[in-house]
Symmetry: C2
Subunit: 362 residues, 2 copies
Amino acid sequence: MTKLPLDKPLSISYNATGCNDQERMMMAKTVQTIEDIARLANVSKSTVSRALNDSPLINQETRERIQSLAREYNFRINAPARNLSMRQSHTLGFVSYACSGKNFSAENMFGLELLGGVSDGLRPLGYDLLVVPVEPHDTTWAHQYLNSGRVDGFVLTISTRKQKMINELVNMGIPFILWGFPQPNSSFCTVCGDDVTGGRIATEYLIRTGRQHIGFLGGPMDEIEVKYRHHGYELALQNAGRYLDPDLVVYGDYSHTSGITAMKRLLEQKPDLDAVFVNSDVMALGAIQYIQSCGKRVPEDIAVVGYDDLLLARYNNLPITTIRQNIPLAGKLLAENLIQYIQTGVVTNVNLPVELVIRKTA
Amino acid sequence: MTKLPLDKPLSISYNATGCNDQERMMMAKTVQTIEDIARLANVSKSTVSRALNDSPLINQETRERIQSLAREYNFRINAPARNLSMRQSHTLGFVSYACSGKNFSAENMFGLELLGGVSDGLRPLGYDLLVVPVEPHDTTWAHQYLNSGRVDGFVLTISTRKQKMINELVNMGIPFILWGFPQPNSSFCTVCGDDVTGGRIATEYLIRTGRQHIGFLGGPMDEIEVKYRHHGYELALQNAGRYLDPDLVVYGDYSHTSGITAMKRLLEQKPDLDAVFVNSDVMALGAIQYIQSCGKRVPEDIAVVGYDDLLLARYNNLPITTIRQNIPLAGKLLAENLIQYIQTGVVTNVNLPVELVIRKTA
DNA sequence: CCTTATACTGCAACCGGTTGCACGCCGGCA
DNA sequence: TGCCGGCGTGCAACCGGTTGCAGTATAAGG
């Protein structure tokens, strides 16, 4: 094969490969490697590789010719080969507990929407998302997936971010990003919502709309984000000169059931309650259910503000007034910032603004 | 390096590598390839490869020695290298729509639980699960993921199994498995539930417990599984000598909202309704909510039987009587049978038994 | 004792990319 | 005319596994 003079038009270059349209159709199915493209373009496979990666080393005409050839023949680069060669997988792992019930259920709806958000955020970056099932007390999964070159890093969300596990990951130098708050001592990437503000604006809205006895129905008491939301709740009350009544504060575990039971407790403690700020939409659904089962009306008798703005808050029969967490953006940032960390080592800690979405329950 | 005589005890073989415990600790971090293991074991890397893959070619002692070395040094085989060499990715793709709201929301809870089931089912098989986001009208994703060697095949569930897409996959010869029913003409792998029986036993139970006017609240009218469930419903009624009242039949779209609106329609058409068989737990939740909002009691005034037995049916405040689909088993079979198809070309069509779970709503 | 079968093991090619380095060709300048 | 530098390209090694085939040692059989 002789090399083509570069000053010839592209169409002639094509024909110079010595195959007509029909033959090309036949080959379409067999063009699988950059070497095939190289043969078609009369160049070496290094040139093809560089051209497809937009390397500045390559002459522009050559690059375009090769790229259009690749397009024409529907060439897909071989991921394992590239990953092997480059020693990175271009894949992130989404950590979830192995016994799927814990994660893949309505109780973890926020985590699942976040999964969708991360998946969407990853697409434009050319990365893939792998589901990484983890045994609760196993500590080897990280090395297992990392050292085998299956993923370049991990995304941890609510259900899998126990303190102990995070510390271990940090100690082992595993690249990961966390949905949640950063820690003072150790440095790792995080994305979280502005929970203080969330708690504050929810409560302020209830105050502003004339509610007198505003309850706080929290998530797990030991979670930082819950503490922050509670802090925001107190701030709003204090600013309004209200008394902080401990009987107005109860905690659940984010589940629908706990929304019901916690609401029951709250109403027993404070029968004159006329509003409640609930730490998740799923719990809010439970709370509303309980309130209605008592013969009270939402929002007339008791106003309810949820948290997260899940889709089910929007499409519920009685659409929920709630604090929106920007889940698509959160997913995008989890994806982008983890990849940035992997590539550059830059640690980012993002705090996302939240916003009050007024619907029908308050 | 001289080869070790095989009749020497294992412990000596270890020492023969000429490194003490401390050195071995040091190396622990650098043992990344089978070549490293080969050096340690004084064998060639082919032998290590075969030993780790339990090849019968390898002497049992040698194999055990190598395997324990691998364990000791915490060796993880390099996935890209193996995938490249074997020309398979050992990874399955779970197809979901790209704009995540469509999939990763409570409306698609069954699909999400199935995702968890597939993930769990895949683990013991040594396969990974990749999230494959698909643009609704894109037809190139399959080749994109397959030809790039990122996945060996696909799992399709409810939200992504439009007829057109399936036909295209079949025509292109893409390996996939479907949650749903097989088609008479084309042959591909499927796993589905026994919807006729499901519809029948739900209805029979309502008849047996003395209900007189039993409604059918279906999923989308054009879905085969819905037709089967309706067929089962009719069978039960006919067997009991009941009249088939078309006013007792309404349809929704599996969503919570549609459960509410369809229930409303049903009660308007048949105010004396005293039971309803609903095609999904999520819709059942909506139906129950509407019934209660009318001041009627569940199950005293109106009995409700759901479908799927999602976790939320179990943990709901008023646990739902429902038709259990064995989701963990479904996931396991989707995983196993797709892999079997990929490896052997055997097409399987499984119909899973369903079962009535009696709780509080009927 | 020699032949041949058997049981292991090693060599080397291969999977399909990436990339450091060498090389050829060109124009510009002395 | 000769030398130099830069641009564009190709060669070949490498990433870390798998596997066909050849080779060796040992045992079995004649």
